[in-house]
């Protein structure tokens, strides 16, 4: 049988109340083993307190070609950033 174990993406929450972050991938026959292997591979040096795994085929993603239409429109909306507004120093901290 030349079938490979499915590919899983591994997400780890670091110690400091952060979100889970993608750290890498691995092959595993099921979710339980993926979590156990993820622990062995990605948290050998205290890198995490919680692990998520998801089979790679379940992830939907934007296509590289969509980068322009999706993300460029926000470039000219500078008024969405606080630095756009000039508040006189006299007003104090804001």
């Amino acid at each position: 049988m030349s079938d490979e174990w499915p590919l899983w993406e591994v997400f780890v929450r670091g110690r400091h109340g952060l979100s889970h972050r993608h750290v890498g991938s691995l092959h595993a026959p099921d979710a339980e083993t993926a979590i156990r292997n993820g622990r062995d591979v990605y948290t050998r040096r205290n890198e995490g307190v919680s692990i998520w795994v998801v089979e790679a085929r379940h992830i939907s993603a934007t296509a590289p070609g969509d980068k322009g239409p999706l993300f460029e429109p926000s470039e000219d909306k500078v008024y969405r950033h606080p630095s756009f507004y000039d508040i006189p120093d006299d007003v104090g901290q804001m």
């Binding site: 174990w5 991938s25 099921d30 993926a34 591979v41």
Partner: protein, 330 residues
């Protein structure tokens, strides 16, 4: 290095005029230090070249477990045994990160394993040398991992995102490997006369094979020129070898050991050591399969692959059955 003599397109670097508009845009992204990600357009040669390089690197990590695994059951103390186990476990992890990076380019892990076993894909020449004494564990960590670091630190800036990210993880762990090796060398070199002789013997045997890890001079190689243009190779082989010698010779002096090279001399003008090149005939023979341990290494990999088949198949069948029954992890 861990990836030696990786062949590129062999046609040399195209000038901007020779490139298609897609290739030009791609090269511009690399020149602007942008990372290329798995689903981005890339030239076929870039993809093939990377698969060969990352695959060879991954195989080296996995085969590299064998010479050190050889000493786990015979480590002199329980502490040394735990350290060596942790190091060998790291190498398995490094292999995994790299296989995963290669897989993003559209090659399967099984296909890479089969290419290793059939000899179509190579691994670093260094792992075809035997580890005869405990001092070799010191020499391997100090010299072999030291040489690997020389190559891997710049590769953290390589153009292919998944490869660069794998390198960041690997480099973080690699420093422990080199230091534990040097720690073993220090103990041996400061030990009894017999221990010091073992340390010197290990240095004698691993010095030139370590220099070979960087590969022969590639100053005129079209493959390297293309790889450098694509930023999947950052420094020339000679550059890295020189850096390695300059860093390592003072460390040998600190240990009170002698680098086995009569031609070794400080060259104030170039600000580095002059040294004797390794025997490149030997390098090519080892790469071709005629090293002291080539057959043994491949046999061990083949045996692990064959003996593990029932585990892979059994767990896959079990996973499928559970999925069909709708049982999740928790």
């Amino acid at each position: 290095m861990y990836a030696q003599m990786v062949k590129s397109t062999g046609r040399g670097v195209k000038s901007p005029e020779e490139m298609t508009p897609e290739e030009r845009a791609f090269q511009a992204r690399i020149d602007a230090d942008e990372k290329i990600e798995p689903r981005d357009w890339m030239p076929d040669g870039y993809r093939k070249n990377l698969i060969r390089q990352i695959g060879q690197h991954a195989h080296s990590e996995i085969v590299g477990q064998l010479p050190e695994g050889n000493w786990i059951t015979r480590a002199p103390t329980l502490e040394r045994k735990m350290i060596l186990l942790a190091k060998v476990q790291d190498e398995a992890g490094h292999g995994l990160y790299l296989y995963a990076a290669a897989e993003t380019l559209g090659v399967s892990r099984d296909a890479m394993t089969e290419d290793l076993l059939s000899g179509r894909m190579k691994y670093s020449s260094i792992f075809n040398y035997p580890t005869l004494t405990w001092a070799d564990m010191g020499a391997v960590g100090w010299l072999v991992d030291g040489a690997a670091i020389m190559n891997q630190v710049p590769l953290q800036r390589t153009s292919y995102g998944p490869y660069a990210r794998a390198m960041v993880r690997i480099c973080k762990e690699e420093s422990f490997h080199q230091r534990q090796g040097f720690d073993i060398m220090m103990k041996m070199a400061q030990g009894s006369p017999a221990q010091k002789r073992m340390a010197q013997d290990a240095l004698n045997r691993f010095w030139y094979p370590s220099l070979m890890m960087f590969g022969p001079s590639d100053a005129t190689s079209v493959h390297s020129a293309q790889s450098m243009a694509w930023r999947i190779k950052i420094n020339s082989n000679d550059e890295l070898r020189q850096k390695f010698v300059d860093q390592t010779v003072p460390q040998a002096e600190y240990l009170g050991l002698t680098v086995p090279d009569d031609g070794l001399a400080w060259n104030a003008e170039k600000g580095g050591y002059d040294f004797t090149e390794p025997d490149w005939e030997e390098f090519f023979a080892v790469l071709k399969g005629d090293g002291p341990c080539n057959a043994e290494r491949l046999q061990a990999r083949q045996k692990a692959w064959d003996d593990g088949a029932w585990v892979r198949e059994g767990l896959l069948a079990h996973g499928r059955k559970r999925r069909a029954a709708g049982i999740a992890a928790q």
